[in-house]
């Protein structure tokens, strides 16, 4: 474990050194590959003076808020729908074609429809993120219901559980570990969809900043934006794992 971490660290250091060397030796124009120090400098400038009227923190905050809203929408729909699809084959039969049709689609493909149907305000961005984040949670909730051992259901029925009690006291908690896995995947999907969502007439957000800076060939800002997204995604994955340990401490122990 420890040695694996060391290897990872060595990889990062080597990559950074290689990157610095390539730009130092001017093999590539800074427009193609700005040096790490320049990107670092850009971080300082962006957090102090900002870009397009907002600091880096404000851009990141806006993006984070959009992802959280998208997640709230996705999770509040996907968990009940997934659980119902897992328990009722009629509902599953009815909804399967819709979900199977849309979830492999790249969000960029239905982005124009979002704009035509919903418009260009925040709702469109949140809807796009929500749609991308819905499927992993919904599929996980279904898998969670299917993973409930039949004997656990039998045990509860023998203790007098009604259908409603079976759902809330057995199915829901039994599906929770799988749902948490789905949530972790969905948060990753959210960050992966961010740039697409912020193509919709955004004036703020990390995705907007990247696309806007690219128009001016400000590669150092693009790099700073990419690194910011990566760091945010890593941090939210860690937060999700922490929430998982808190909510399903029994995971993998039964």
């Amino acid at each position: 474990m420890k040695s694996a971490r060391l290897v990872s660290l060595a990889t990062v250091v080597l990559l950074l050194l290689g990157w610095e060397a390539v730009s130092e030796l001017e093999w590539l124009s800074p427009m193609f590959l700005p040096s790490p120090s320049r990107v670092l400098h850009q971080f300082v400038v962006l957090s102090r003076d900002g870009y397009a009227g907002a600091t880096l923190w404000e851009h990141a905050g806006t993006s984070l808020l959009r992802i959280l809203c998208g997640f709230a929408v996705a999770a509040s729909a996907a968990i009940p729908i997934g659980l119902l699809m897992g328990t009722n084959r009629w509902i599953k039969g009815a909804l399967d074609p819709v979900i199977e049709f849309y979830w492999p689609l790249p969000p960029l493909a239905y982005l124009p429809l979002m704009i035509i149907w919903i418009g260009i305000d925040e709702a469109a961005k949140v809807t796009l993120l929500g749609m991308a984040m819905f499927a992993p949670i919904c599929l996980a909730a279904q898998a969670g219901v299917r993973s409930v051992p039949i004997e656990r259901i039998h045990a509860a029925q023998s203790l007098g559980a009604s259908r409603r009690q079976l759902f809330f006291y057995i199915l829901l908690p039994s599906a929770l570990p799988e749902i948490m896995t789905g949530i972790r995947i969905s948060i990753g999907t959210g960050w992966a969809t961010l740039v697409a969502a912020e193509l919709i007439a955004a004036t703020e957000g990390i995705g907007f900043m990247i696309m806007s800076a690219a128009n001016f060939l400000a590669t150092d800002i693009v790099f700073a934006g990419i690194i910011t997204i990566a760091v945010c995604a890593l941090a939210s994955a860690a937060a999700a794992r922490w929430a998982e340990r808190l909510l399903v401490p029994w995971k993998g122990k039964s």
Partner: protein, 258 residues
């Protein structure tokens, strides 16, 4: 009185044929009776128990508990499984109290009842322990306490000691004898061990496989002599015990591979 009359279960298999899992089984379990089912694997013991529990529908015959026909699972029949099936997210006390929670009993009352029951099965001080931190024997004790909590009319035990090591198993046999003697419950108990069957049961039914039916019946009073204070080891080495056990084992052998 639990009355099983001409109970049959057959599963449809390919080409319109049917697998006869249970064929025309009749039995009764009265007040204070401890009925043990023994038989080779696949002889329909678990099918019969599942049908009484209400998990498995009969294709013929009927099962009645105190006159009422059994149509599905219900809390008048408590079940103890081989795999304990405890809720992994709840501690021992909450597992024991789960049935009481389903009945709408208040939190404090059911915690108190759970503590009493845990104490009865020898698990004082384990109320807050999660299932994954308990040993196999302890988990089965929690499962037994959980089944007793809702005060069922009959207790159905499907190889509850099957997964335990020899020592734990013997301790658990004695615990079951003592705990259940106090409750005067009707019990249906499945085991592979003829020794366990003869030690615990007041009636021992030997089942034969394909189709599953009852091939023989033995009566026993060893559980009573144990409860009267005779030592379990001395009972199990009693010549009469050894002889009867041999007869049961021969009948099981004669009715399919063990």
């Amino acid at each position: 009185m639990l009355t099983v009359e001409h109970a049959s279960v057959h599963y449809p298999v390919k080409d319109g044929a049917a697998l006869q899992a249970l064929d025309d089984v009749s039995l009764t379990i009265g007040e204070g009776e401890f009925v043990v089912l023994v038989g080779a694997s696949g002889c329909g013991k678990t099918t019969l128990l599942s049908a009484i529990a209400g998990f498995q529908k009969l294709t013929g015959g009927s099962i009645r508990l105190d006159g009422a026909e059994i149509r599905g699972p219900g809390r008048d029949r408590g079940v103890v499984f081989q795999k304990d099936n405890l809720l992994p997210w709840a501690n021992a006390a909450d597992n024991v109290a789960f049935g009481l929670k389903l009945q709408g009993m208040g939190r404090r009352a059911r915690r108190e009842r759970a503590r009493e029951l845990l104490s009865q099965v020898g698990l004082d001080g384990f109320a807050e322990t999660p299932p994954h931190a308990l040993s196999g024997g302890m988990r089965q004790r929690v499962g037994l306490a959980r089944a007793l909590a809702t005060e069922p009319k009959i207790l159905l035990m499907d190889e509850p000691l099957g997964a335990l090591d020899g020592m734990t198993r013997e301790t658990m046999q004695e615990l079951i004898a003592r705990v259940l003697a106090g409750t005067k419950k009707r019990i249906l108990f499945i085991t592979h061990s003829t020794e366990e069957a003869l030690f615990l049961g007041t009636s021992i039914l030997v089942m034969s496989p394909r189709p599953g039916r009852i091939a023989g019946r033995f009566e026993s009073r060893y559980i009573h002599s144990f409860l009267d204070g005779r030592d379990a080891a001395s009972i199990k080495s009693d010549p009469g015990f050894v002889e009867t056990r041999k007869a049961i084992r021969e009948l099981v052998r004669a009715n399919g591979p063990s």
